[in-house]
Structures are given as C-alpha cells and as structure tokens.
C-alpha cells in the first residue's frame, strides 16, 4: 500500500467550493531511463486518478510518463450534500489504491 496524504475538509457549507489535495507515494518510473548498468527500467506509472462524490465523478485525470514521482493533484468541488468522497488511483503492474473521506455539508 502506497502512503497517501489527503487534504479534505470534514465539513462544508452547502454551495461552498472546497479545495481537495491528494498526494500519493509512487516512483512514476518513465520507462525511458537506463540504470547504472545501461538497462532501461520498465515503465511503472499511475495511469488514472478519479475522485467521486457519492458515485458521481467530480474530478479525474490521466497521468503520463513525464509526470514527477509522488504525484500531487489539487482540485475543487462544489459541496451540495453530505457524502463520501472516494479517491482511486490505478496504474501499471496492477497498481490500484482507493481511499475514502466523509464530508458533512451543513446549511
């Protein structure tokens, strides 16, 4: 399991735009880098990130080899109703990780 740092407000007012930040530990090996012995390391990257709010996608991203290790994504969402945010990263070599956070929306 990769380590994850998620910044999600626990509560928000209805209609508020909340900022969400997601940082995950991953080498993002490009597949182009030769190591000290000249052998090119096979590609190992996260390909896709999806954030859903009670099943509805609020943000998604496709990641590519030029993206730095430990990718950090920051985005916003409109708080309409209390719900569970699910963060899912999927990538090469069967990499799959899911985290959830609860957001309570008040009037």
């Amino acid at each position: 399991m990769a380590r994850v740092l998620l910044q999600v407000p626990a509560t928000a007012r209805r209609g508020e735009v909340i900022e969400i930040r997601a940082l995950i530990q991953h080498p993002m090996e490009t597949g182009f880098r030769p190591d000290a012995s000249g052998v090119v390391a096979p590609r190992d990257i996260i390909r896709r990130f999806v954030c859903t709010w009670d099943g509805e996608t609020v943000f998604s991203a496709e990641l590519h080899p030029a993206i730095a290790a430990n990718p950090y994504l920051s985005f916003t969402a409109l708080a309409t109703a209390s719900g569970t945010l699910e963060f899912a990263w999927t990538g090469d070599n069967g990499f799959a990780q899911t985290e959830t956070r609860r957001v309570t929306v008040t009037e």
């Binding site: 380590r3 930040r21 940082l23 993002m28 730095a68």
Partner: protein, 251 residues
C-alpha cells in the same frame, strides 16, 4: 589544553552571529516553501508516515518493535535527531542517526538492518528526526566528538577532485551567490533526511555530500564512511542552535 584547543577550533568554526546563518529554506521559491510548511503537501511526510508504521512493526529474531522499547516516539525521540552524530560507546566511534538506528536494529531486534539509503532506512530516520522538528540543533559537547568535528572541519576545507575545490570554497567563500542559476546555500544541514525535488525522493545528508563530491569530480566515500560522518558532525556543529526542519523540501 587539548580541550581548550578543540574549543577554540569550534569557536573559530562557528559564524560570528547566529542571524548571519541562513537555512536553505530562506532561499527557496515561495511555492517550495509553502510545500514544506504544509504537511499535506510535503512529500517528505509520506516517508515519515511509512516510518511511523515501521516504528510499530515487530522485526528480527527478538520480534520486537521500536515502540516496544522506546514507546511513543513523540516523547522518547523528541530532540534525539538534534544531537546526532554522537559517539557510540559500544562501537567507540561516531555514528549518525541512520547508523544509530541500524545499530539498534542489530543489537536489540536481532534484525538485519535496512541498507543505508533504502526506503525503509530513510523512512525510519525521517520519522525519528520529524519528532525534533522546530527544536534547536544541539551537538554533544564531549571530547570525542570535538575530535571528530575537528576532523570534519579539515575535510570540509580540503580541496578534492579534478576541479580541486573544497566545500568551503563554495559554501563559505561564495555562499549566497549563484552557481548556474541556483543560490549556493551556507550548507547548514537543518532538514535531513529531506525531499529534494531533483531527486524526486527523500535522501540523507550523506547522499547530498556524495552528490557534491561527485560534482567536483572526486570519488565519494561509501555511505556510512567515517569521513562522511565527520563532515556531518562538523556541519551540525556549525548549525548549532538552528531549528530542525525534517522533513524539509529543497529544490
């Protein structure tokens, strides 16, 4: 007499006024500073989190975890990183924090210590050093360490490599000026192990020192070598009183 000489050497090594010393933090871009100061954006915290898990995990023949002996790291490890490198009485030599952790793993857990600069070794060192964040660097003032620091000072001033440069020629004589667009820092090791954007990973002070030595085209000593620990001890002595930032972020 020898103590007095060592003390004089130390006094001569320390800059005249504390406010003249600058952490590399002060020279970073605002975005990089913000990254270090926000624990949710600082990638070094990923290693500290991993170290926290390792702290709790039983290992080795004794099947003991770090926490079984040391308890809550927030209490037992507070201020520890600020005192290293220090003399290890059992080994009779100076060891740095990573070396101390490895010795503890071998002696008390009966475990094969994680290799230097491995993910596990860096994670544990980052977690332990993180407990001292904000505390002033407080090098131990024993005669043994004075000798190690004097040796480190000599190494810091020794010209090396094909470029025939010493550490002091950049980090003392030209600190604050630019080398290929980057500000030359004063070389205060306040945030190790730290996350370097160039490395895209956490790394130790020894990795930094070896990188600099390769830069002047000198053959760097192996990880854990006495020379590297001596330079570490000298640099920590120079930075005495400056607050620790582990895990820092640097460009």
């Amino acid at each position: 007499m020898r103590r007095a000489v060592a003390l004089l050497l130390l006094l001569a090594a320390a800059p005249a006024r504390a406010e003249e010393r600058r952490s590399g933090f002060a020279d970073m871009a605002p975005a990089t500073r913000a990254m270090q100061q926000n624990d949710m954006a600082n990638p070094g915290m990923l290693w500290a989190l991993e170290g926290e898990a390792l702290w709790q995990r039983p290992a080795g023949a004794a099947a003991r975890s770090c926490a079984d002996c040391h308890g809550d790291a927030a209490v037992s490890m507070r201020g520890v990183a600020a005192r290293y490198p220090a003399m290890d009485p059992g080994e009779g030599r100076a060891v740095d924090l990573a070396g101390r952790i490895a010795l503890c793993q071998a002696r008390h857990q009966g475990a094969e210590p994680a290799p230097r600069e491995s993910q596990a070794a860096l994670a544990l060192a980052a977690y332990v050093a993180h407990q001292s964040r904000g505390m002033p660097i407080a090098p131990p003032a024993d005669a043994g360490m004075d000798a190690v620091r004097a040796e480190g000072r000599a190494l810091y001033r020794a010209r090396r490599g094909q470029l025939d440069l010493s550490c002091a020629q950049c980090h003392d004589d030209n600190a604050g000026r630019r080398l290929a667009g980057s500000v030359i820092p004063q070389g205060h090791p306040t945030g190790y192990p730290l996350y370097r954007l160039e490395w895209q990973a956490l790394g130790s002070l020894q990795r930094r020192l070896r990188g600099c030595m390769t830069g002047v085209r000198a053959a760097p000593p192996a990880y854990g070598a006495a020379d590297l620990i001596a330079i570490e001890a000298y640099l920590m002595g120079r930075a005495a009183g400056m607050p620790l930032e582990t895990p820092a972020v640097r460009p």
